[in-house]
Symmetry: C2
Subunit: 323 residues, 2 copies
């Protein structure tokens, strides 16, 4: 398949072409960024929803329940589960984590668990590229499920129109969102396992915390109780998400949000661009010499970084695949 043809088949929504393109994204295959660039320009009117929360909060079950609820409303979906591989070993430990068997036979849902075998920080970018692929393929909704909390989490929130933060009663610390520092990235708070003791208290505490929060955007962040396992509250959650999407469009916030998404994405690519040039001193004699001077304390890392930035920019050829 020629690169151009694969792009066209993705845009036609062919499942096999989508799967193949995502494998190319994961592997950082030759020429894939030109394909993503083309798919990006083609665009797509997709509602991108990030789902985050502490381990044990039942995110996978919630994502599966949300996907089913969207399917009942005839929306087509892409689901991307982010799966961090070890930074040092090549393998992915949590690969079989997602359980979405019930959705497996529905051609209206495309499910993919992402893993990267490459550079640090590459996972968030690969995930965002996957969203571009699914949007260009015409999916109405893309759900991104993240694992854990950290830098990748923040990057994925920055790549979403709506960020769900999932809390759950009984994890010890009642407001996990507060502890993890993700209270303020939520557009919607979900308290999962609402049938458990303490769920009402978590809802009340989140509402209190939100009242004290500084964020002022005109959107009043709702707290929705659900039981993803039993299916209660999930349709209400879809209503809340539709309402958030509607608010983004009507208030003009969508354009601001998408500007922030563009800025975050450019920044992330830029960092990777720089990193690929500095990643491996064993393959670049000039870089190795600079690093050795820093090690020997002949120069300091700040001046070395400035020198390298100038050198890196001279190595960038705009007509070539630079990543």
């Amino acid at each position: 398949v020629k690169p151009k043809e694969l792009v066209e088949r993705v845009q036609a929504g062919e499942t096999a072409a989508i799967a193949r393109m995502l494998t190319r994204v994961e592997r950082g295959a030759d020429g894939v960024h030109d394909q993503i660039a083309e798919l990006y320009r083609a665009g797509g009117d997709t509602h991108v929803i990030g789902v985050t929360g502490a381990p044990g909060s039942g995110k996978s079950t919630l994502v599966a329940a949300l996907a089913q609820a969207y399917r009942r409303r005839k929306a087509t979906l892409g689901v991307v589960a982010v799966d961090p591989s070890s930074p040092y070993s090549g393998g992915s430990i949590l690969g079989d984590r997602i359980r979405m068997h019930e959705l497996g036979d529905d051609p209206g849902v495309f499910v993919r668990s992402m893993a990267t075998r490459g550079a640090l920080g590459g996972l968030a970018r690969a995930t965002v590229d996957a969203v571009t692929v699914l949007a260009a393929a015409g999916k109405d909704v893309v759900l991104i499920e993240t694992v854990g909390v950290g830098q990748d989490e923040v990057e994925i929130a920055q790549a979403s129109h709506s960020t769900l933060v999932v809390s759950v009663p009984g994890l010890g610390d009642e407001i996990q969102a507060l502890k993890a520092g993700v209270l303020e990235i939520a557009d919607v708070h979900v308290v999962n396992k609402s049938d458990r003791p303490g769920a009402d208290k978590v809802v009340a505490e989140l509402r209190d915390a939100l009242r004290l929060s500084r964020r002022q955007t005109g959107w009043r962040v709702p707290v929705q109780a659900v039981s993803a396992e039993r299916g209660t509250g999930v349709d209400d959650l879809v209503d809340v998400l539709d309402r958030h999407r509607g608010w983004l469009v009507e208030s003009g916030a969508l354009e601001l949000r998408e500007r922030d998404m563009a800025a975050a994405r450019v920044r992330s690519i830029l960092q990777d661009l720089v990193m690929t040039q500095v990643h491996d001193p064993t393959t670049d004699a000039d870089l190795a010499a600079t690093v050795e001077e820093v090690r020997a304390r002949k120069i300091d890392p700040y001046h070395a970084a400035r020198d390298l930035l100038r050198a890196a920019s001279q190595g960038v050829d705009p007509t070539q695949e630079a990543l």
Copy 2:
């Protein structure tokens, strides 16, 4: 105090000067990178030890116990606790986490909990700068305690001579290091709370996992059981750390390790350099125009990043404070 004088007072080991310099590092104060550059070149023969592990593994207690054990051997210490603030709110939630009161009156130990109020990713770099300050001040040992697991964790491992990974029985998943993907960054594994049921099993499982690990450096990674709270095994752990330091020196691995540390640090600064230029499109008209073109899908983020990298490098003046 003039910048030059503060640098000299840090090098003389004055506690007040160290504290003041670390505040400048946290705040990203004007001219601080030139001061760090100077302190870096001055160097220091410090054993830098990173301590990482899952929440609940008792890292703070272990770090306090280690500090006391080193003090009994007359070593001077710096202790840096990494304290991630929320990426969006300015405040630090976990600020009062560390409990090292018993060390508070000992002038041979300098304890600092770090927080940054600035850019994403700035915490790891501020921590590494803090290590430079403490090394230049003549501390024999610097302990870095990290919170959680993620990108910052990896960066701090890359800034340490010896990385301790702490596990503990009874957190559900027995080998937390495996789950978190940090098995292979450990130079020493610690099983804390060794008096609890299941500790022996964790030790055995770690040893099994290490046998299967790919890392081959000539250093056989030990697994040390301790009870930080009761103080058992802590002196043995200091022996193990001294042995690792000795091995680094004698095998020549120290130079390789410090080369990797230098490369990681330059990379991190370089990323921040680029990021500061792309962070805030509202203050830069050219950047804002580019981001708006990406948002409107007139250009794609990959080509935009390449254009910006060229522009960024032209804006760097090597004689000026660029960060």
